[in-house]
Amino acid sequence: MNTTVTQDMSFLHLISSASLLVQLVMLILVMISLLSWWYIFRKLFVIRYEIKKTDEFEDIFWRGADMNALYQRTINSRYESGSLERIFAAGFSEFNKHPAGSDLEAVMESTRRAMRATYQREMDYLESHLSFLATVGSVSPYIGLLGTVWGIMNSFRSLASITQATIAHVAPGIAEALIATAMGLFAAIPAVVAYNRYASRTDQLATRFESFMEELSNVLQRRAAG
């Protein structure tokens, strides 16, 4: 009783007295958690910025601004441009490459392909690292569970040599093992929440981009015909 009751139960002591594999699991989980939180904040800023830029560009475009001026502005400030601006620039430059009087059907087809290609690239950029968040959300609880199971195994194995076993003999080992699960959950929960939220946001952006592409091709077709 005496030895177990007076044991230091503080968080740091529990971690430092854990077995090597449990400590390794904890280290991996800390790294994963740091990385996932970094991506969470990065994606938060990126998606926010993208939505803001898309709002701005749609606002300017549908107010009836000059397409040539918009195109020039996008080319000049290409590092601050949003995805929708890039899609517009790709389609508009492809449309202008064709000489006047060429087959309208073929021109529109190539314009749509150019826009589609840029759209794919932009979506790839927006959705990058989201899969990492999904992986963290699904795997890190298992990694934490592995550490916990290993720690509990060890604490029960050390119990075998004691004739009169009490809960106090097992408790510290289980507590230190459960820290691994806690860390896994700490990494997983925000990752899952962020993944779901960002996936829905990028879906929204994708539908906006696609509808804009259709509308732009209509506008360009009218302009070529008219």
Binding site: N2, L12, R42, A90
Partner: protein
């Protein structure tokens, strides 16, 4: 041309460094929560155990320390009482001795000198005027003799007085010596008393030590007994197949008669828990754990011959 520029241009990702800093901050915050949130666990239990074990040995040691202190303080006042007495008696001794010894020494010297002087003077007178002067001399001698006799008588009287005085002084000295002897005897007796007291003290201390040792031995024995009683109870508990879902925490008491070696002679239900299933489960468990663990010292078996076993439904 321009499209290819757009295609190859990197995406300017906003605030990626700030994102990293925020991620680190979130983790530091969480670690701080864990560290300061779990610390409440390790403080209260430490005091309980340390206090119990420091208090137990003290009451045995403290009487040993505290008893000699009053005893030592008692003989100390006795010594000053004895010491002042001899100085009171000593000053009178030297004073009478000096006054008595000096006068008798001087007076005999004078008497011795006076005697030869009259003997030397008559000798030259006797040779020239023998017969005429012889009578005068004889008369003078008679007178002198008479005077001498008177002087002698006076001296004798003096001597007698001196002797009486000496005797008186001797008597006083003897009395003083007797008193001294009495004092010495008293001192001896007191010293003996002191020795006796010290011996008594030593005996008491030895008794206290013995009592402490016996208490320690008894403690060891009681520890051993309680340890084995706990072992017995643990063994029985491990064999109980608990009936599920009893309300509250019923307690059952059995009085068990043991044989040396741990065999069970008799099991009697001394207080029922009120649940027959629980009672019988405990009774079965007692029989199942048959060689009960007993201390290796056979002298302690008497403590285990009639055991009272109380089992709580919930620990």
């Amino acid at each position: 041309m321009s499209a290819s520029i757009l295609r190859n241009s990197p995406h300017s990702e906003p605030k990626s460094v700030l994102a990293g800093a925020l991620a680190v901050f979130v983790h530091l915050f969480f670690v701080a929560l864990l560290v300061f949130g779990l610390n409440w666990k390790d403080h209260p239990p430490e005091g309980m155990i340390v206090d119990i074990w420091t208090e137990l040995p003290k009451p045995i040691q403290e009487p040993v320390k505290s008893q000699p202190l009053p005893k030592q303080s008692v003989p100390e006042p006795v010594k000053p009482k004895l010491e002042p007495q001899p100085p009171k008696l000593e000053p009178p001794k030297p004073v009478p001795q000096k006054t008595i010894v000096e006068p008798p020494v001087k007076k005999p010297d004078i008497a011795v000198k006076q005697k030869p002087e009259p003997v030397k003077e008559p000798l030259p007178d006797l040779q020239e005027q023998k017969k005429k002067e012889q009578e005068k001399v004889k008369e003078q001698e008679r007178v002198k003799e008479l005077e001498k006799q008177k002087e002698l008588e006076k001296k004798k009287e003096f001597e007698k007085k001196q002797e009486l005085e000496k005797q008186k002084e001797l008597e006083t000295q003897k009395e003083l010596e007797k008193q001294k002897a009495l004092q010495r005897q008293k001192e001896k007796e007191q010293a003996a008393q002191r020795q006796r007291e010290q011996e008594a003290k030593a005996q008491r201390e030895a008794e206290v030590k013995r009592a402490a040792q016996q208490a320690a031995a008894r403690n060891q024995i009681t520890n051993e007994i309680s340890k084995y009683k706990a072992l017995i109870l643990a063994k029985i508990r491990s064999r109980i197949v608990m009936p599920p879902d009893l309300p509250g925490n019923p307690v059952v008491e059995f009085s068990v008669t043991l044989l040396p070696g741990g065999d069970i002679l008799d099991v009697r239900l001394s207080r029922s828990s009120g649940y027959a299933a629980f009672d019988s489960a405990v009774e079965r468990a007692i029989f199942l754990s048959k060689p009960l663990p007993l201390p290796p010292d056979p002298a302690l078996f008497n403590e285990f011959r009639n055991l009272n076993i109380t089992v709580h439904y919930r620990e």
